[in-house]
Symmetry: C2
Subunit: 333 residues, 2 copies
Amino acid sequence: MTAPAAKPRFDILGIGNAIVDVVAPVHEAFLSRHDMRKGGMALIDAATAERLYADMPAGQESSGGSVANTCAVAAALGARVAFLGRVADDQLGGVFRHDIAAAGVHFPTPPLAGGAPTARCLIAVTQDGQRTMNTYLGACVAFGPDEVDEVLVAEAAVTYLEGYLFDPPAAQAAFRRAAAAAHAADRAVALSLSDAFCVDRHRAAFRELVSGHVDILFANEAEICALYERDSFEAAAALARQDVALAALTRSEAGSFIVRGAETVEVAAVPTRVVDTTGAGDAYAAGFLAAYTAGRSLASCGRLGSIAAAEVISHLGARPLRDLGGELAALVN
Amino acid sequence: MTAPAAKPRFDILGIGNAIVDVVAPVHEAFLSRHDMRKGGMALIDAATAERLYADMPAGQESSGGSVANTCAVAAALGARVAFLGRVADDQLGGVFRHDIAAAGVHFPTPPLAGGAPTARCLIAVTQDGQRTMNTYLGACVAFGPDEVDEVLVAEAAVTYLEGYLFDPPAAQAAFRRAAAAAHAADRAVALSLSDAFCVDRHRAAFRELVSGHVDILFANEAEICALYERDSFEAAAALARQDVALAALTRSEAGSFIVRGAETVEVAAVPTRVVDTTGAGDAYAAGFLAAYTAGRSLASCGRLGSIAAAEVISHLGARPLRDLGGELAALVN
């Protein structure tokens, strides 16, 4: 039996891609012209990024990255949060660093000097509020095991890993190092599957990680079906229940489905006018983990996830504009 | 009598500061902590920009600049538009160039190499939708008479000058050169006063420019009162009527008041939910000039101004998100 862990310095340590988003409204024709899979995220090289950007309408830039978004939202909800990820020593890296610090997130990773520029994600938002993403990973590819501060991991109640971080080659090793350090300190490891196409790209590695090293799994319907190669949500959720201690599975406007051993909790979505779904899953994970690390019930974890998701999808951009500071305290259990 | 001017290649040529906006929601306490005058624009140096930015919440970046906003909105309304202004050869300069090109605006000014970085405007938006701006002019201070392409000026029906451009030292000379080139080609010169505090900083120069060189003046209530040092809008508007051939004076939710010689046209505002007033005056000028250069009535000029302003104040950011392409054709006269 391990000794009880010391009181954590952070509730959540996120590890993920450090990305600046470029969000622009597009017509459906833009997606077909560039052979984009609506709702997905594709990786692009620098030349393709230049070409797509040149064809995009005027946009708005904001700090993004899936787990970084989660960190910003969780901090807005009152959680103590740190983030590890790699930006370059350039203007967009400065924007990312400013925004995550302004959100109240501790971000100790030094900038990459003399390498690729800060990563950017070109996000095309169609009239129906769906976002289709094309990511140039830039400086993120320089994130590896050396960037994982094991002391920081041991100081966080939950280390939350981004599925997208499986794409940069050195990051899978960073994941394994972080998961090992977390468990050695008796802390929990959470993972977001991020994207069904990302799961397709790395299914075997995800399956091994989820079974062997993940305590809390976040996925939407397409992602969990992709992970277990099942056509039905119910079948995939049943496999998740066997595979991982706790899984929070989101189903867009149908809310979320949370499984923990024999326990099942269904949580409704919070109705809102959908402007831009970018960051919905990230915000859900933020609400869930902020409530979870505060010792709340699974129903409250899901509820806070729904509240946070509804906030960010009601406007352009993946981070909250409304003050969410009182939402955690307002939960009943 | 001058020979009739050749058919213009552009409807509008804007000359102004080329700025990237950083927009963030703040509490009133942020303004008082930094001694900011709510609703105004202050000029700041690089060190102050660093300090203020460090204290600002996370924000969204987007291309801005008063006249550049007007150009983007006018192009969205179907006008043929060009813009002159100075960015640096850096990432934010690339963002500015992309966005104005994506808006359909011809932007031939080459980037400044090896000088100050691209200008940025820190925009603090309070809960009431008011924006308070702090601008670091950066590369804009390198805009001078040499950047005024007289051939381009002669090819534009209206050359539209930004009051804020009086702040960088070399730009007043650029204004005079542009106004002279426009009139030599029998074209019109329009001016936005931009900001009451800007008028205070440069009143004598503005008065001389307006009386001697401006055909179309845009101002809001505070600005026109500041220009003529009058306490009442009516008194200031009466002086504008004598001083300039055509003046379009905006009064927020009270609409606009247009005077041309003995003629007076009052136009209602278009009701909308106000989220962020950034760019309201810029969008009004865009609608007005797009209709004006299309030969529409003064009532239609004001109406299109009101429609464009309502669009941009209904969301964060100064450029339109809704497709405005059909609005000009929908005007009755």
